[in-house]
């Protein structure tokens, strides 16, 4: 590379960069520095790479020994013994039609639809799917990963939950009245938590979701799941008789009984 590249030069390289066709280290570094600063350029490279990947249609059945070698290389990972409920990706037929015809939704559920819309926006920005009664030292790895996962199945399921007959919802507020999250619980004990504002916690800390089984002092408070350090949208199961939910900040990997004050609290209606 004889001279410094200007943005127009670098843009002209995006196609060949997407095909790994730049062998000049300085040129490649210039493109990568530009990609780090330009979301539009990054998006273009992603799109061109995806198009290029469609050219690869020739398949070749790998020999059994190849997987065996890969499996051998997996050694050293912790045993997968997390008590984490399975990820769910239920199929919901017709949800788009319902979304397109809001007049068919009973009036008393209109605010649930609003929650679902907010959920859709959150999901579009990146869905987190972290839930469990225990989190091990894999917490950080799962946090990073799940925070970036966009899952259409989750979006569909959450939307469907919000408009199901018998679904109840709540805005979860802090003691000052600020809404930090919304929650939907269905009659059959499924629920979705949508976090609006919760600061990312430092390592070793986790948010935890609790089911409030009664409004009277002394009513049972049951752990629903550990949310990780930066939850976004979370699916969970709970007692269908639950009255409300609360979120606390706990030391990782979470607590079996609530030991910290409630940061957010909401009662289902």
């Amino acid at each position: 590379m004889d001279r410094a590249l200007i943005p127009a030069d670098i843009d002209a390289l995006l196609g060949v960069y997407a095909l790994d066709a730049i062998d000049d280290v300085a040129e490649r570094s210039a493109v990568e520095a530009w990609l780090a600063r330009s979301p539009a350029a990054r998006r273009e490279v992603d799109e061109l790479r995806e198009a290029a990947s469609m050219l690869a249609q020739t398949t070749f059945d790998p020999p059994a020994a190849l997987w065996a070698r890969i499996e051998e290389g997996l050694g050293g990972a912790p045993a997968p013994d997390l008590a984490v409920p399975p990820l769910r990706t239920p199929t919901v037929v017709g949800h788009r039609a319902r979304r397109a015809a809001p007049g068919r939704v009973p009036r008393r559920r209109s605010w649930l639809v609003g929650i679902a819309a907010a959920l859709a926006l959150l999901v579009a920005a990146g869905v987190g799917v972290v839930l469990g009664r225990e989190v091990s030292d894999q917490e950080a790895r799962i946090d990073r990963l799940a925070a970036g996962v966009e899952d259409d199945g989750m979006e569909e399921a959450a939307f469907a939950a919000a408009v199901q007959p018998g679904a109840r919802a709540a805005e979860m507020e802090s003691s000052s009245g600020a809404v930090g999250a919304k929650v939907v619980a269905t009659a059959d004990g499924h629920g979705y938590l949508m976090v609006d504002h919760l600061p990312r916690l430092p390592a070793g800390r986790t948010y935890q979701l609790w089911a409030l089984m009664g409004e009277e002092p002394g009513s049972a408070v049951v752990s629903v799941g550990v949310l990780g350090r930066a939850p976004a949208v979370v699916a969970f199961t709970t007692d269908p008789e639950v009255m409300g939910f609360a979120i606390t900040e706990e030391a990782a990997p979470g607590a079996t009984t609530r030991s910290q004050p409630m940061m957010l609290e909401g009662w289902l209606a």
């Binding site: 066709a21 190849l66 890969i70 399975p86």
Partner: protein, 198 residues
């Protein structure tokens, strides 16, 4: 998530499970994508053993760094194939693989202009890809094939085709963009309709 759940899980959820060190989730990703990954690696490096090494490395990298996959930036298939392509190109540009590459190039008898279309003709699912390719000029197809399947740099492509480097850069970019638009129109790429091999 048991094995049946894994079979029906989305690619994105499989990667989350990989993040939880679920080896069977990685195995399911492998079941879905290893054949096309190996096909691409073999096409580029021209050597069975090297191609398997590439695929092994890419899947182990997914296991060790699953968070490098960002589903907002494209399908898992595209992510894995990008990794396979990049690593394969590194190999063919290395001295150790130069000989096999030369042998492979010498054996290639398919005309450049026809090769790319032939590559994708066989499978029904690739009908739209083939249609998209017809939108490209012969110059665009040649440049893309030499860079993508040949592992050549754009300067090498320019020399091989006897075209200015700027023309090659422009053709590759415009050709891929036109392909991408055509494939997005039929839902084969893009956030709403990324095709996932199951």
């Amino acid at each position: 998530m048991d094995r049946d759940d894994l079979r029906s899980a989305s690619d994105a959820n499989l990667v989350v499970a990989v993040g939880r060190f679920r080896a069977e989730a990685l195995e399911e990703v492998y079941r879905r994508h290893a054949a096309v990954a190996l096909g691409l690696a073999r096409r580029i490096v021209g050597d069975h053993a090297l191609a398997e090494e590439v695929v092994q490395e890419v899947f182990l990298r997914l296991w060790n760094d699953p968070e490098r996959f960002d589903p907002a930036r494209g399908a898992l298939r595209s992510f894995l194939l990008s990794q396979v392509h990049s690593r394969s190109v590194d190999l063919v540009r290395s001295e150790s693989a130069r000989r096999s590459r030369e042998e492979r190039d010498a054996q290639r008898s398919v005309p450049v202009d026809d090769g790319l279309e032939r590559e994708v003709w066989a499978l029904v699912l690739t009908e739209h890809v083939r249609d998209a390719l017809t939108l490209l000029s012969a110059g665009e197809r040649s440049a893309i094939e030499l860079a993508y399947f040949g592992g050549h740099s754009y300067r090498e492509v320019a020399a091989a085709l006897g075209e200015p480097e700027g023309t090659v850069k422009s053709r590759i970019r415009s050709g891929l963009a036109r392909m991408r638009d055509a494939l997005a129109d039929v839902g084969l790429v893009g956030a709403e309709g990324s095709w996932t091999e199951r």
